[in-house]
Amino acid sequence: MENINLALTLLIAGFVIVFMVLVLLIIIITIYGKLIQTAQKRSNKRKEKKKVVAVEVTEKQDRSNAPYIPAVQDDEDEIPGEIVAVIAAAVDALYGEKPHRVRSVKRSGNRRSAWGSTGVMQNTRPF
């Protein structure tokens, strides 16, 4: 009987402690995640402003040397610079010498394209 009491106590205590510790972790991780995200967004915005100013200056100086300037509209999802560069290169490869400009790069939402799905499927097949 004494052991049963201990077992029930352990069930409740264990349940509560495990959940409590993990819920505390959820709270802390969510808070510091948000803090870091906001801080990084701010610093990114500052960097972008500097970039835009720099780009405007070069545009004024010499327009003929700049066939296109990728003006990136990040919105909320930050698209890394490398990805933008790759997209711009792909556009350039497609349009060739025709005058063109990448005005914005936006995520297409959560749905994957057929190509994307095939790629992910290939990568996760071993699992």
Binding site: A13, I17, V18, V21, Y32, S117, V120
Partner: protein, 439 residues
């Protein structure tokens, strides 16, 4: 003629020392079981990295039990040492004073012993030689398991291999990691009802955490005598995750729930990943110091990886160190399954309860997944709940596989990794609770 009789005695001696003479039926049963485990490891590839050394250790100890023999220290007299053909000068000595009556009772002739007077009493001085016989190879390797050294080292390697990104991106996964631990505490009650002692019940229940190193760590602290059956049960169930989990997952979910496609996880910055291990250790070690060795080493390994400044150490932890410890842990855990000790009704009870704990953990994870699915209005696929029972990364792969059976374009793997790694932390926390309450 002399040669023939000598040859005859050599052959008889060899036969008598061979397994054919001294092995019991239990040993033969265990050898067959080890063959079965080897088949599962090699042919079916169920966790071969662990199952293969375990099966081999199991086989070898049942053929040659002396490989696990404890070292023996004997206190021998001069006559006994010389009778064994040993050189007394090469052994340390210690002397003891005994009375005449004690000397006669111990078989000494007092006349041959040196007489010593202490006050008015007459004593005889007996000199003993300390003759130590070394233990078997596996005995020494097993000390890493017995003293609870290997499990934290394995955790160091796991930490260095684990990407906590999916968990940081979706911290709610922790709930599923915690839910899957409920099986541990429910099984504890079952074990008590079946008549196990509280410390034994705690060690059996932790099998439900589906985490081999954690199970070994808890058992080495609470019930070291049960290490063999518990470690074998824990690792076998981890290897059998692909067989045990899917039926439970299908039983508890609807087709519609299994087909839920989850949204992409947000990218997690490097800074967040670096802060995570430090925060977890500080919080867990302060609240539950008994979980500190496991969680501490897990997070140290992760900090090595995420900091990016100690690449060499991180690589050693996740490759060489991890592999070496896995070999030692595997063979010696297998070697604890010697027939006479293993084939007992108690072991059957442990294996049955372990399976129940494992199934309950899976079921609780899936059920909490359903609750979260309902709470988020269908944004969470309940299948990822079953990954809350550690068994990294096998349990997450099973979530992915079962999800893909319903919808081939559904990729749950990264979503399931969140609860999966949360389960590792959760089972270490549950281990801390068991140790602190039952020790």
């Amino acid at each position: 003629m002399d040669i023939f009789s000598q040859l005859g005695s050599v052959i008889v001696g060899l036969f008598q020392s061979s397994g054919l003479c001294h092995l019991g039926w239990q040993n033969y049963v265990m050898i067959v079981i080890s063959f079965l485990l080897m088949f599962l490891a090699i042919k079916k590839q169920y966790e071969p990295l662990l199952l293969l050394p375990i099966a081999f250790g199991m086989m070898i100890v049942n053929i040659f039990p002396e490989i696990m023999a404890n070292p023996v220290t004997q206190m021998l007299t001069f006559e006994q040492v010389t009778a064994q053909g040993l050189d007394p000068a090469s052994y340390p000595t210690s002397s003891q004073l005994i009375t005449g009556a004690q000397a006669i009772a111990a078989g000494f002739d007092p006349m041959t012993l040196e007489k010593v007077m202490v006050g008015d009493s007459e004593f005889y001085k007996v000199v003993y030689y300390t003759v130590t016989e070394n233990g078997g190879l596996f005995y020494y390797l097993y000390q890493g398991v017995h003293l609870g050294i290997f499990p934290p080292l394995i955790f160091l390697g796991i930490g260095a291999m684990t990407d906590f990104g999916p968990l940081i991106a979706n911290p709610k996964s922790f709930i599923l990691g915690a839910a899957a631990q409920i099986g541990i505490f429910i099984t504890f009650i079952g074990a008590i009802l079946l008549g196990f002692q509280t410390n034994e019940a705690g060690s059996i229940a932790i099998i439900g955490g589906a985490d081999g190193p954690t199970a070994i760590f808890v058992t080495s602290k609470l019930a070291p005598e049960l290490l063999g059956p518990i470690a074998v049960a824990a690792y076998s169930y981890m290897a059998l995750v692909p067989i045990i989990q899917p039926p439970i997952m299908r039983l508890l979910t609807t087709k519609k729930e299994r087909s839920i496609v989850m949204g992409q996880l947000r990218p997690v910055s490097k800074l967040e990943k670096i802060i995570f291990p430090v925060v977890v250790v500080v919080l867990v070690a302060i609240l539950l110091p008994d979980a500190a060795p496991l969680v501490g080493m897990l997070m140290l390994g992760n900090l090595f990886k995420e900091s990016g400044v100690v690449d060499r150490i991180a690589k050693t932890a996740q490759n060489e160190l991890m592999n070496i410890v896995t070999i030692f842990l595997g063979v010696t855990v297998g070697a604890t399954a010697s027939g006479t000790l293993f084939l007992t009704p108690k072991t059957l009870g442990i294996i049955a309860l372990g399976l129940i704990a494992f199934c309950l953990g899976t079921a609780c994870g899936v059920l909490f997944g359903k609750i979260m699915c309902w709470a988020t209005k269908g944004k969470i696929n309940p299948l990822i709940g079953s990954a809350g029972v550690s068994a990294v990364p096998m349990a997450a792969r099973i979530s992915q596989k079962v999800g893909q059976e319903e919808n081939p374009a559904n990729f749950l793997l990264m979503h399931a990794m969140g609860p999966n790694v949360a389960g590792v932390i959760g089972s270490a926390v549950a281990a801390g609770v068991l140790i602190s309450v039952l020790k």
